[in-house]
């Protein structure tokens, strides 16, 4: 599978999902399970991505400068600091810790 294939298939699937919402009868929405599942699925996938992006290095767990960076990010999001500022600060925290050899 090439990178282009991944990009195009993911894009096609995204549109199919969006458009199917316009074809499915509104009644389906009245089943609370459907919207609850879609909502919780988003939460679970994002939380899984946070964990993997913070702790994984290939197929190994590696504790490094990403952890303090993510903790700083959580603190800043809690203080309602805008997204772009938080991700920049997180990147700078990790880069500084690595640059000065404090953490890998």
């Amino acid at each position: 599978m090439s990178l282009w294939a991944v990009v195009l298939i993911a894009s096609g699937a995204s549109f199919v999902v969006k458009y199917s919402g316009y074809l499915i009868p509104q009644r389906v929405l009245e089943v609370p399970l459907v919207s609850r599942l879609a909502n919780l699925l988003t939460v679970a996938l994002l939380a899984g991505l946070v964990a993997v992006q913070t702790l994984a290095s290939g197929s190994a767990i590696q504790l490094d400068a990403r952890i303090p960076a993510v903790l700083v990010a959580i603190g800043l999001f809690a203080l309602r600091v805008p997204f772009i500022v938080v991700v920049l600060v997180a990147g700078i925290v990790a880069a500084l810790l690595r640059n000065f050899g404090v953490m890998s």
Partner: protein, 252 residues
């Protein structure tokens, strides 16, 4: 013909949300290039996939697993996008029955456009809010994606020291506004634990997919759901908090 004050207010909100979202685009563009995608592939994703969480997921999973994780990247992206299908159901009556209009609307159906539309009372304002926000976010997101990709291309060494942390922080930022309810917070914690435990045992990309079982289990049983006396206590088909969108009547 002059615009009503209400229309003007809706347009102002649309532009504010578009600007706030555009800021995400820079980090997406830079991360995507760092993950090994070309500037063209990065821009095609913003043009055609057009759903922030899913795009970050594709890039994050490809960055850690390479091409072998391609199928997992597609699956995660698609599952993350399922909520857009739910939004589509809610937007269908607002958009109307015309097929081509629906095709265009479907493409613009994301958290932001849906949230602004649902924030309005009058049908006219809902329609305007949906289209104006969708277009504002689409234009801003695509321009800043290109900008971020070019920046990432120009300074690969300077930025690589902290880019993995930027990606992790980006996922925290996408998740954060969705954690207000106990049920969601518990699902998030369980999913994070499942994904972490599986890192050494499953190929890259798979731990995240398996973590979604936490959502299926809690969703099917609906445990930890806190009923409340207020009308619409748990409207989980509405998007969460959106940057740039003023706090409104029914989220409080």
């Amino acid at each position: 013909m002059s615009m009503s004050p209400e229309s003007r207010r809706v347009l102002r909100t649309a532009v504010a949300v578009g600007l706030a979202t555009a800021a995400y685009g820079i980090s997406f563009g830079a991360l995507s290039v760092a993950a090994g995608l070309s500037v063209a592939q990065t821009c095609v994703m913003s043009l055609f996939l057009f759903s922030g969480g899913s795009q970050f997921a594709v890039v994050g999973i490809l960055a850690s697993g390479g091409l072998a994780a391609g199928p997992a990247a597609i699956a995660s992206s698609t599952f993350l996008g399922l909520r857009n299908g739910i939004y589509g159901m809610r937007m269908a009556p607002i958009v109307g029955p015309n097929r081509w209009r629906r095709v265009a609307a479907a493409h613009l159906t994301i958290d932001e456009s849906t949230a602004v539309a649902l924030n309005q009372e009058a049908p006219r304002a809902q329609r305007l809010g949906f289209w104006a926000t969708g277009i504002a976010v689409y234009v801003g997101w695509n321009l800043t994606t290109l900008l971020g990709a070019l920046i990432g291309n120009a300074l690969p060494n300077v930025s690589s020291l902290g880019l993995d942390a930027v990606a992790a922080a980006a996922f925290v930022g996408l998740l954060w506004p969705r954690l207000k309810q106990l049920q969601a917070a518990v699902v998030a914690a369980a999913a994070a634990v499942i994904a972490t435990v599986l890192i050494p045992f499953a190929p890259p990309g798979v731990p995240v997919l398996v973590a979604s079982l936490a959502a299926v289990l809690v969703g099917l049983t609906n445990i930890l759901h806190r009923p409340s006396g207020i009308a619409q206590p748990d409207d989980s088909s509405a998007p969460g908090e959106i940057p740039g969108l003023p706090a409104d009547k029914d989220t409080q």
